[in-house]
């Protein structure tokens, strides 16, 4: 296409009758000559998807966060039903803040709480344990044999005598540290949950969590509350996450408000601002509607997508506005201006959106369902944006138009900027970076930053670093409760389990128990392991119990009949350390933390043991428990982090190469991104954020979306250079035409995700901070480093005669093409 032919087509036409409806590409004609139909179709689709939203569910599925392809996870999922001790349960601790638990008022309150929890939906009532449930018994060996009874005396009436009996029974039952706090100031209600309730539905964590909160509010609110209540467990965590998600939805409103404000500042036109906003919201409705139609719901990860879709939509919409404003300002009719804008920017927008899509698409290499879903829903979002913001928006603009005042203002501003006034001061300052002195300084500073970042990033850790449930903030209610319970009861929430698998009824053999005991002992030696336990310990203690408690019998006897009796006891007392078929026994290691080094050491010790001791009939399978899952996730994440960086950079380089057709330009475009990636890692070290499931998408998105800036800036600059302008002049023109857009994109994207930093969900906050950093820093990097690097690498482009590729042309604003 020749530029001279292009020119008359974009002539200022104030009356649509003068405009040739047959001009423009086929797509353009198809769209604008049927704009009524198109708007109708979009309205129907929007209504349909909005209707779909009624089925939208908010969930926090932990399964989806597991790397399903990893053998540890496969082993865990295959045997999960059998692992009673690691099953789903909630622990509620009731503390007497004014003394110990042997207090009539406290016990009366505990009894009420116990009864209320007992009737909650989803509770496996038969196995609920507390000092008030009859399944909790004391057993004592006497010369005559075993005697025992429920811990709560049968004649309990709250009298001093029956409280004294309770005290004795608690001592005899050995429940201190499990059902009674080590300091006797609190007691625990252990609530195992049913996998499926009576109606065959799985437990509604959100509802259960809410019911527990109601109980907490009823008995433990206010400074004078008779008790304090602490709640931990999978269901509570999931409930808290869902609550957090609902809060994050509110952030959407804030992000939208910020974006609106920015757009308004940019356009000073209520009409067009509302239009951009409306189209971006339509995009979000379509995206969410499609997600629901596919049968997915919102989870803590995929909730990121509406934010990004909205922000990307706003920034693309704003560019459209920019074009139309100027055309209208020059006196072009709104319909014609809309068509011109579509003509100019459709391909450019498409290229940029495709670059974003690349960022999302590489996420599918990660074998973690939440990430794959994120990639899928984000791709859907990008596809939706092509329709809503590249097509629907110009069409709507052709009806609505913009306010004439804003339009003339925009044109004036633009002209001033090109002359170096107003905002143009900023842009002309940036021009200096094409000069040797400034370029050298900018690059020297970047190299220093890069080296600094690289050195710091060596301390980058894999996995989650904070104590407690890493999904939530360390100071969250849940994690405070967790810390209280960890401190007062002999339990750690970081459990690594190796599953010892045998044929049915073989878990009881002396050999298997001895091997389990050896593994347990081996793991106990690993630094970071606080305590280990397995069925072997149960058998040891039960055996001693069978011999009147004589410590000399704390052993796994090689006389099978002695073991069998204890296995029978373990079965009938519902031991968590074996399954009902006696074919699976977990060896549990309680860890001091879930840092990657700790997990690595445990994995190493357990794998070595497994390699040495596996036989045909006895397999040591890694790994279950929260730490087993963490370990597998870390392994996958470590691997995926590398692969993903490779893929995302490879695709960005390819995209740049196609667009620029110059390896030097590719270097200029990609180096600022590399600096951002390195600095983002340094920032993670500084903020104590480890590489984890949640940070993987950030890296891909940061680079994939970050390259947009370079695509805008460099393509114009190269085009100018190839038209014969010097580098300095070319960059000046480039920045004048696109600088504002680059800044706008950077700021709106950052505005879209910054609100996440306040999310109660820790990993969302981490994602928000990192994404904001990457979006903004990539913007700065592009504006400063592209001219600086160009000085050294792209001077030669000016002399090179070259025809622009259509993609290049597409990225250029019309004005840049005018001599």
């Amino acid at each position: 296409m020749d530029l001279s032919q292009n020119q008359p087509q974009m002539a200022v036409i104030s009356d649509p009758k003068d405009f040739d409806n047959r001009s423009g590409s086929l797509l353009e004609r198809l769209i604008f000559n049927n704009r009524g139909l198109l708007v109708l179709c979009c309205a129907i689709l929007t209504a349909f998807f909005a209707f779909q939203l009624r089925d939208m569910t908010v969930s926090a599925s932990f399964d989806k966060m597991l790397p399903h392809g990893h053998p540890y996870i496969t082993n865990y999922l295959e045997n999960r039903e059998q692992l009673r001790g690691l099953g789903d349960s909630v622990r509620v601790v009731v503390e007497n803040p004014k003394g110990d638990i042997f207090n009539a008022d406290y016990l009366a309150t505990l009894a009420k709480i116990n009864d209320e929890i007992f009737i909650l939906k989803g509770v496996d009532r038969a196995w609920m344990k507390s000092i008030f449930t009859p399944v909790v018994r004391w057993v004592e060996v006497t010369e005559e044999g075993f005697t025992g009874g429920p811990v709560l005396p049968n004649d309990y009436d709250g009298s001093a005598k029956s409280i004294e009996d309770l005290r004795i029974n608690i001592g005899r039952a050995g429940v201190v540290g499990s059902l009674v706090g080590n300091n006797y100031q609190s007691s625990m209600i252990q609530i195992p949950l049913l996998a499926k309730d009576a109606e065959g539905k799985s437990v509604d964590y959100h509802q259960l969590s809410a019911s527990l909160e109601q109980i907490r509010a009823k008995y433990a609110s206010g400074p004078d509350a008779p008790v304090k209540i602490y709640v931990i467990g999978f269901a509570k965590l999931a409930g808290d996450l869902i609550d957090g998600l609902e809060k994050v939805m509110v952030f959407f409103l804030i992000a939208a408000a910020i974006a609106t404000f920015i757009i308004y500042l940019f356009t000073r036109c209520v009409r067009s601002t509302s239009l951009v906003l409306a189209c971006s919201l339509v995009a979000v409705v379509w995206q969410l509607g499609l997600v629901v139609s596919f049968g997915y719901g919102l989870d803590p990860f995929s909730i990121l997508v509406p934010f990004l879709v909205f922000a990307i939509g706003i920034s693309h919409g704003a560019q459209k506005m920019n074009g139309i404003m100027q055309d209208v300002g020059r006196g072009t009719h709104k319909l014609v201006a809309a068509r011109y804008t579509f003509r100019r920017l459709f391909l450019a927008g498409l290229t940029a959106l495709l670059a974003d899509a690349v960022g999302f698409a590489v996420l599918t290499v990660i074998d973690i369902p939440v990430i794959r879903e994120l990639a899928l829903t984000a791709s859907v979002g990008v596809a939706v944006l092509i329709t809503t913001n590249l097509i629907l928006l110009p069409v709507l603009l052709s009806y609505v138009g913009v306010s004439p005042k804003a339009a003339s203002r925009s044109l004036k501003e633009e002209t001033e900027e090109i002359k170096g006034r107003g905002f143009g001061v900023v842009w002309s300052a940036l021009d200096h970076f094409t000069e040797r002195r400034w370029a050298t300084i900018a690059i020297a500073v970047s190299v220093v930053l890069g080296v600094f970042g690289f050195v710091v990033s060596h301390d980058l850790k894999i996995g989650d670093l904070d104590a407690g449930a890493p999904e939530l903030r360390p100071d969250s209610r849940y994690n405070q409760d967790n810390a209280f319970i960890t401190a007062n009861y002999g339990i750690s929430s970081d459990v690594f389990a190796v599953m010892v698998k045998t044929p049915p009824d073989s878990c009881r053999s002396f050999e298997t128990l001895t091997e389990a005991d050896r593994l347990s002992w081996e793991l106990a030696q690993v630094p970071g392991v606080q305590r280990t336990t397995s069925l072997a310990d149960t058998v040891r203690n039960y055996t001693a119990g069978g011999f009147e408690g004589n410590p000399k019998w704390i052993t796994v006897s090689d006389n099978q009949s002695l073991i069998d009796a204890q296995i029978g006891n373990a079965m009938s007392w519902n031991s968590e350390f074996l399954n009902t078929q006696c074919s699976l026994i977990p060896v549990l290691a309680y860890l001091s933390d879930h840092k990657a080094e700790t997990l690595d050491r445990v994995v190493e010790a357990a794998s070595q043991f497994a390699a040495k001791h596996d036989t045909a009939d006895r397999k040591f399978l890694l790994a279950a428990g929260s730490s087993g899952v963490d370990a597998a996730t870390n392994i996958v994440v470590r691997e995926a982090n590398r692969t993903m960086l490779l893929y995302v950079y490879a695709s960005v380089i390819l995209l740049c190469a196609i667009t620029f057709r110059s390896w030097r330009a590719v270097v200029v475009a990609v180096l600022p991104l590399v600096l951002t990636s390195v600095l983002a890692e340094a920032l993670m070290v500084w903020l104590g954020i480890g590489v984890k499931v949640a940070t993987l998408p950030v890296v891909a998105l940061g680079v994939g979306i970050g390259v947009d800036y370079a695509l805008y800036l460099l393509s114009v600059q190269l085009a100018q250079q190839r038209m014969g302008y010097s580098l300095g002049e070319a960059y000046k023109r480039s920045v004048a035409f696109t600088g504002k857009v680059v800044a706008l994109v950077g700021v709106t994207l950052a505005a879209g995700v910054i609100t996440w930093a306040w999310s109660p969900i820790k990993f969302q906050a981490d994602m928000g901070i990192l994404l904001t950093f990457m979006f903004l820093w990539n913007m700065l990097g592009a504006l400063i480093l592209i001219p600086a690097l160009s000085h050294f690498l792209l001077q030669g482009e000016t002399t090179r005669k070259h025809d622009m590729s259509p993609a290049e042309k597409a990225l250029m604003p019309e004005e840049a093409l005018q001599n």
Binding site: Q525, P551, V556, K612
Partner: protein, 353 residues
């Protein structure tokens, strides 16, 4: 194939199979046959018994753990032990020579004060030895003892040894379940079953054997105590009125003896076990260990973390405060003021006021 011994042939066969399936263990190593694994946790894991080897403290416990300290408990080293069985008792008649026994019927021996150990006997060898010994014996009940041992063998597994007592570097006893008792007079090179020399028709388990001042006693199930009668060279019954198991005993002097067991049961005899008197200890916890201090004080430990002392030859006891109580399993005196306590959470040194 060259003619090779049966054992070497088996090993060769194993090697051949294992080369087909690398990384897959084919057999199970019985703890009696493989060395205790090295551990840094010895001083903090379950220990069942302790003894003084001269000035060195030696303690034994679960999974073949034997630890020793030459600096009054400040640092501990793990001894090299050829078996990973749970050990329950240790005896050092002198500073260098010592014996430890436990499950799997293992008898371990050290000649260097407890740094390194060799296995002198295990439950499988002991059963074979017993069968052979009584098959060759002319004792009146030898045939019954052969039958009994064979039926235990047929039941599978081994019989544990639950206590060891050496009166000198050469002479000592090991005792265990079902009337199991062996004696050596050559420092453990050879062991002689003494099962026909006990008045134990019920074949009760023996839980402890202790001697002092020429007196030697056994305790066992059902309140049973036996006194060694030099004239008849037999252990003759000296039962207490108690019906439960007597975990252990303290020989005070040639006439006085204490026997103790579960639920604070403590009995004293001042006439070599002919008559017993219950001594109230005021605790419902099982008594697990007892010893006589050099100065004559008698100490008892309980599973509830109690330590009790008697200054009147075991007639009355008072509790002693310890700094960090745990479930105690045994003790040994270092001197009149200091004791080594072992238990569920390892080893601790305590001072006695």
């Amino acid at each position: 194939m060259l003619p090779i011994t049966k054992k070497a042939g088996l090993i060769a066969a194993l090697l051949m199979i294992s080369s087909i399936q690398p990384g897959t263990a084919l057999a199970f190593d019985n703890p009696i046959n493989i060395a205790a694994s090295p551990s840094k946790l010895g001083a903090n894991s379950a220990l069942l018994a302790s003894a003084m080897a001269g000035s060195r403290i030696v303690a034994v416990g679960s999974r073949g753990i034997i630890i020793y300290s030459d600096d009054v408990g400040a640092t501990w080293k793990q001894a090299s032990v050829p078996a990973g069985s749970d050990l329950v008792s240790v005896s050092f008649p002198s500073a260098k020579k010592g014996w430890a026994v436990g499950h799997g019927g293992v008898v371990l021996h050290s000649v260097d004060g407890g740094s390194t150990w060799v296995k002198q006997l295990d439950g499988i060898q002991a059963a074979d030895l017993t069968v052979r010994y009584y098959q060759a014996s002319t004792a009146p009940d030898a045939a019954a003892l052969v039958e009994r041992e064979k039926s235990l063998q047929a039941g599978g597994g081994t019989q544990p040894l639950l206590d060891v007592y050496f009166e000198s570097d050469t002479t000592g006893f090991v005792v265990g379940t079902f009337n199991r008792i062996f004696r050596t007079e050559d420092g453990g090179k050879t062991w002689t079953p003494w099962m026909e020399r006990t008045d134990n028709p019920g074949e009760l388990h023996f839980y402890s054997i202790r001697g002092r001042a020429g007196a030697l006693y056994l305790t066992g199930e059902q309140g049973a105590v036996w006194r060694f009668d030099k004239a008849s060279q037999r252990f003759i019954a000296a039962p207490t009125p108690y019906k439960g198991t007597l975990f252990g005993l303290v020989v005070i002097d040639s006439d006085a003896v204490l026997a103790f067991g579960m639920r604070g049961s403590l009995y004293r005899s001042s006439d070599q076990g002919r008559n017993w008197e219950k001594v109230p200890l005021g605790t419902p916890a099982g008594i697990t260990g007892g010893t006589v201090l050099p100065g004559g004080g008698i100490l008892l430990t309980t599973q509830a973390g109690g330590v009790n002392i008697s200054r009147d030859g075991g007639k009355h006891f008072q509790p002693v405060k310890t700094s960090r109580p745990m479930a105690y399993f045994g003790l040994a005196p270092m001197d009149d003021k200091k004791i080594v306590l072992v238990g569920a959470e390892g080893v601790r040194l305590e001072s006695i006021q």
